[in-house]
Amino acid sequence: MSAKDDLVAELGKLGARDPEAARLMGMVMALAGEVFVLKAQLERLTRALETGGAVDAKRLAAAAAQEGMTKWLEAEEAAFARSLTAPYLEPDLSVNATKWMRSE
């Protein structure tokens, strides 16, 4: 095998080094992405509330008891679990295009 083909063959083993670790890594990173978004939302909210002087413990408890909040939780639990586990089921969404690296 030529040196060029050898390299392409090695690189063509996409994700081969430890597929389990790659899947888990996908889940961890998806989770981290959610956490990052959440932190950003919380930071934004805190800033808004601080400026407006709008929130106290009683209001938070009332909001938690709202029907809308319950519905939100139901929808979110499904979407959250799906997006977290998707990388485990489908760790690599792209085609393997390395054969094209042999194009003349």
Partner: protein
């Protein structure tokens, strides 16, 4: 200008992806380079085998492949975002196509080359040629940050300035592989009196290019055509330019494209190609570049870097061929063969004249 602005959450998610890219570009890259140096080989394949089990390289290659999939297909990914808004985006393009329709020439009969259809370039499933959502997703993705995090707009000035130097009197200018026309508009600003046409094989991106040019109040033309078979007569063009095109074409197609460029150019006309071509850093640099090509589905970034462009251009009928790394400016150490301290996609400017 902002038809589908990212929500606060989607924008925050892109910050997260950018953070991952920072790790890829800095710590994971440096650890990978150390692992490669320990491998002590001049053969990229051997480096790959030996460095494979280093944790830094494992992380580096994972991030290289999957941070892009996150960027496009994560829960708040750009492609998902645009797909949900596809109907609105299609209408926006349809409306734009009705304004100054003579500036947008589509060819529904044009066959997409197989290398465009089959590769999922940049891991964009189905590519950028499918529909409006794909075109907007590519535009948003490429204008936010490039893979190695440099500002993708900066090189446009360089592109325009080089074009002016190469063909100061140009009246007929082509920009091959123009996508949403960023590079084409830069050329129009450089040559306000010339007829400037952006060409691409993908219709939706051309429609978006047309919209953006209307918004910028620039009279730019767009035409759906293959750079391997230009619908222009022999010796009718003063400048054939391209910005990030050839690393998306296999060598045979690049070759045909060079021959076509020469055919349509007038004698003495200018040719320029701005793209990833020269790869500094010896065997490790080549290993990293090939890995990127494999993992980000840019297989022809590997084959293009392997072509002898000086010979190819000469064979196609060009002279005065010059090439150098144009962006980012390589340090003296990199010029002397060292690797840069961060993972960097160096861009090469190739210029020539039609003999």
């Amino acid at each position: 200008m902002n038809e589908a602005p990212l929500s606060f959450e989607a924008a925050a998610f892109q910050c997260f992806v950018r953070g991952l890219r920072g790790v890829w570009r800095d710590e994971a890259y440096r650890g990978s380079v150390e692992a490669a140096q320990r491998a002590g080989s001049d053969e990229p394949a051997e480096i790959e085998r030996k460095a494979r089990h280093s944790p830094a390289y494992s992380l580096y290659s994972w991030l290289e492949r999957h941070s892009q999939q996150f960027k496009y297909y994560g829960r708040y990914g750009v492609v998902r975002w645009m797909e949900e808004r596809k109907d609105t985006l299609s209408k926006v393009l349809e409306e734009a196509a009705k304004r100054h329709p003579q500036r947008l020439q589509l060819d529904p009969a044009l066959e997409l080359p197989e290398y465009v259809r089959a590769v999922d370039t940049h891991q964009h499933g189905g590519g950028i040629w499918g529909d409006a959502a794909d075109a907007f997703a590519y535009e948003t993705s490429s204008s936010a940050y490039s893979f190695s995090l440099f500002n993708p707009r900066l090189p446009m000035d360089l592109y325009a300035a080089t074009a002016q130097r190469l063909a100061p009197q140009a009246k007929e200018v082509l920009d091959l592989g123009c996508t949403s026309g960023g590079s084409t508009r830069a050329l129009k600003k450089a040559f306000p009196d010339a007829k400037v046409t952006g060409l691409d094989v993908a219709a939706p991106t051309l429609e978006l290019a047309h919209l953006r040019s209307l918004e910028a109040d620039l009279e730019v033309h767009f035409r759906q055509a293959n750079s391997e078979k230009l619908p222009w007569p022999r010796a009718s063009v003063d400048l054939v330019a391209s910005h990030w095109l050839y690393h998306e074409m296999p060598p045979a197609a690049v070759r045909r494209s060079l021959t076509e460029a020469r055919r349509v150019l007038k004698k003495g006309g200018g040719f320029m190609a701005y793209d990833m071509y020269l790869v500094p850093g010896g065997a490790i640099g080549r290993w990293l570049q090939a890995g990127y090509a494999a993992r980000n589905n840019e297989p022809f970034a590997h084959t293009y870097a392997g072509m002898d462009m000086e010979k190819e251009l000469e064979a196609a009928g060009f002279k005065g061929i010059e090439m150098k790394i144009a962006h980012p400016e390589p340090s003296p150490e990199v010029q002397a063969g060292a690797l840069p301290p961060h993972r960097t996609h160096f861009m090469t400017m190739i210029t020539a004249q039609a003999a």
